[in-house]
Symmetry: D2
Subunit: 344 residues, 4 copies
């Protein structure tokens, strides 16, 4: 076994407020892109001077969609209506596969004679990829036993949707739905970000909202959520391919009494405190430092991790947007850092 050695630095601390965390946390970021660290660091400084980033969780669930073929559409519909009335039995099937997985809901799409079912679960402190696959696998077997009119097509029907661009994840939910927001006083904007609330708001409209719309974006309006997600996911042992749905989030800003209201909304943060990757030493160290390996209510470690994720994204996004409002600043930043790196 070889090792890919990705440069990692800790930035911050980021000041975070809310039901799941109320602390200043130093955040590890693993990346090949050196400019990311000072960028997030600048946002972290704003978070401290501005009184903290408030972050809440709106929803959480993990999903797996299966697909069956029925004789015809009528049969597909009848089966869907039938299983909705058999929630207790399905709960029992799921209960045998895991102590943590709980079936929350089932959504469907019927296309011709095909029945797509999207099983939605809570998964405790795990991101839950395998937990929901296992549960869906057993649910599928159970259904094939109960409904002879169904034919197996696939344990994953892409209506889940894992690590793929989609609209369904944001609308029906997948992972943690987190909103992080901050009020940045005008003076802090000027001192640390070298810009004004008005300029940030204008840029968000013309770049993140309108520019993304022109690009044919889908349920996304941000500058570079993906950068922070990738670097943080790597540092804390998450499946980095989940930045795809994670990156589909929104920046909403407003000038309020001359100050800047700045928020990031990430409907699909997929993180866990246990599972693949979390047993590596450096990952455990990082999770421990973040307070995400505590003995407590199942799920709360993962929630804390999700909230830190969103706050980190806010810091990096705010900092880049501020830089972009000043002609030439982005390029100067990159040039200095890249040169510096070469000199080292």
């Amino acid at each position: 076994m070889n090792i890919a050695k990705i440069p990692m630095k800790t930035v911050g601390p980021i000041k975070i407020i809310g039901p799941h965390i109320d602390a200043e946390v130093r955040v590890p970021l693993a990346t090949y892109e050196a400019p990311l660290w000072p960028s997030v660091n600048r946002g972290a400084k704003v978070s401290r001077e501005a009184g903290g980033i408030c972050a809440i969780i709106v929803d959480e669930r993990m999903t797996r969609s299966v697909v069956f073929e029925a004789l015809d559409a009528k049969t597909a519909l009848r089966v869907f209506e039938s299983i909705k009335s058999r929630k207790d039995e399905m709960d029992e099937v799921v209960g045998k596969t895991s102590h943590f997985a709980k079936l929350l809901d089932v959504h469907s799409q019927i296309v011709g004679n095909l029945l797509y079912l999207r099983f939605e679960f809570s998964t405790g402190d795990a991101a839950g990829h395998n937990m929901v696959t296992k549960a869906a696998d057993h649910l599928m077997s159970w259904m094939l036993g109960q409904y002879a009119e169904l034919k197996y097509i696939s344990i994953s029907g892409n209506f889940c949707a894992d690590k793929k661009v989609s609209a369904v994840n944001g609308i029906l939910g997948r992972g943690k739905y987190v909103v992080a927001e901050i009020m940045v006083p005008e003076k802090v904007c000027q001192k640390i970000l070298k810009t004004t609330p008005e300029k940030i708001v204008e840029l968000n409209i013309k770049k993140n909202l309108l520019g993304t719309t022109l690009a044919g974006g889908l349920r996304t309006a941000n500058a570079h959520f993906a950068n922070m997600l990738a670097a943080f996911y790597l540092a804390v042992g998450q499946d980095v391919a989940n930045i795809i749905e994670g990156s589909q989030g929104f920046v909403h800003t407003e000038v309020k009494q001359n100050d800047l209201y700045f928020s990031v909304t990430l409907p699909n943060i997929i993180v866990g405190a246990v599972g693949a990757g979390k047993t590596l030493d450096f990952v455990r160290d990082n999770l421990k430092d973040l307070g995400c390996l505590q003995e407590r209510e199942s799920g709360e470690n993962a929630r804390r991790l999700a909230v830190i994720t969103a706050a980190t994204v806010l810091c990096g996004e705010l900092s880049l947007l501020a830089a972009l409002t000043n002609p030439g600043e982005l390029m100067r930043g990159h040039t200095i850092l890249e040169r510096g790196k070469r000199d080292r």
Copy 2:
């Protein structure tokens, strides 16, 4: 500086044929997800038994979009028409910023009085993120000097679009547009993949095409391109956040005289053989082993890397789809591997 130590294994060799590479290559993959290695390995075995994966590059370019505000739409249009006639001057501006960047094309969107310009460049052996930002920065300064009626809005207008879900990248191009394809004899399908050509084709239609459409996917039809992209990008020093556009690709399959025609199309592979990340020791080793650090025509190392990327994606995609055609196989694979990992 800390280090994130990501487990990395070399799989293959994958047999690849085509204008940019004709060899069997062993491919490094860095990931927390252990099942990925045997999955790609199985595909690699198919590549060897089936005579090789043929991979070609359809297009290559790197982009940066800028956004200006004009007095009104009429002015925005006039400026766009003017700069199209001044390609020589723009080439000169670009030439001063880099030996490698060459301006290929400029596309625009005018929305009200806003002018979005998407500059498209060739960037030699670099992925080109910074190269195009620098070139766009200078082009923007030059334009602001030439057209007093323009106001700077942003060096990045999200019509680029970097590390964000979009349709523009696939339609106008960003990165390398690679198609990789293979003919898998029926017997190889049965022996190595434990399935039939017919089942793979059926699954691709019902999952990748129809299922993705139901999920509200955008210019994407695949099962898990993202997994292979992430693991390979990490192993060879690429910016892993570019898996977002990279993941928007297509599987097209067909039964041809009882055999399986299987192809992956990735319009947005963003890779380079030089630049950030490429100076790390393990990355250099990996690039060297892949034959991507050779002295030769500028751009050819990056092209080789892109083609290997696509072939690797093909191997992993084919293997997973095959597994999904057999009820229970996916879960069994995960269970064995995860248990194995814990035992180590």
Copy 3:
């Protein structure tokens, strides 16, 4: 008041089977595009020779989304959680606005401090545009009275989404979700459609599924649902702008024992038997001829209309796809018809 006189012809009869209709119906289509009539007519002939189109309704609801601003995200979430527990009170508010509107569900999106609520209603025999706006208007007033922390932003927040391209309508539902399907014997394919089941299936994959994906389509996979929807909506007094969500539907086909399984799935058919447009004489005549002005359970006239819509779409879609499998046939058809028109 002037009159736009749109040419209208009755095609069919189309043979339809299912819980909402079991009859042969002649369908009026109003259009400037003369080739549409013979095209749908050919499909209607297939429906009769093949034993009928089976059509079912999977779901029905009409929606209006409102948007509020709260002090912060936390408040927005608290309000959303509060109203979910006050369904009875909301039912009462809705009940005062209409005898027919019933609140089915409420979905939300929270972005920063903004609260988008998507109210979903059943609306009897009406398409329900105004009914749901009125109900939402009263719900909004009631909420502003109950929750002083909310500020009115808009009675329509585009998360509805009316007459606009979206993914939400298909995923959460808007209008009638109808699946229509038919088994076309190989011989009928050859005799009437001059093609084979294999050719139709191949074309559907390469054009409707893959081609639409390339075009950056969104939750849509068909050739020309829009044509049939527009012509039928005009003929029966519907709001033709609702073809936008209506057109986002899917064709799924398969060769089954040498015969053709052909289905159309339309998740967003928005039609009513009462309301604006339905009092015009020619509309009443058409609705009456279709059996959609009967005295019976509220909603059943609209359901019958929706099912006829889907069957009509199936006929036109099948016929065009068949034509496209034969090089030159589409153009010949148009040329003959256009010339014929000029000669008349």
Copy 4:
């Protein structure tokens, strides 16, 4: 032949300024939705009091995509590169099919061994649906003769994309790309629209931009472009199903020195002054009244029509957005109009 008699009223005049039209025009709208007339009328009044709507055309082209199958991807690419070098021969093929069609450009997508070609033409005063189908038909025959390695798949590959939701039409162009804009003085806002520039701007951000993004919209940000497009297309003999791509447009607004800058951008207005529907008496009368049947440079009648379309959309959009800023106004407007209609 029966007739669908759609209620039609003329609204305005709308004051329009620009290279293609400089006049006050009365605009016919055919619709079942009575509230549309006073709504557009209010916008028309604003256009006159505010000095006129300025409208320009950024681009124009009509498209048809064909799809071939090649032996493999390499062959598909070779054919594409070959035909790009044979523009003269293709021009000749096209020239034989029409006096008006001129080939402007060819874009492609290669997916596996499939070659999608998007032919783009200018089509004079016609919308050009049939003209481009005929030209594409001949180009396809010519190609099948020149390249024995190609197999016909379809004369339409959905990469066109006609009457279907897509991103390609906005990015590569289809129909007329029109921007219409106006400066509305604060006082006119208050007097006629009963609102303020600030409220309109805020609503546009929270509803049209952010709300549409949440809904999973695609290259669209508006409230109800579709309504005006449908009513105007019907009144002037256009193919109403083309409102689907037409509706994918953007509103951009800004407060400028206390006044309102308001713009609509419609990249896909598909209209013609000749062709199907245009020979009907009422259509000819309407086109004549609008000045779109003049003897002049080919294409200029269609351009005038496109510009009027956009100005009409602006009037209706501005009026509705204004209404939505005032709680209850939308519902009151509908109630009064619907009641009025019933009383007539």
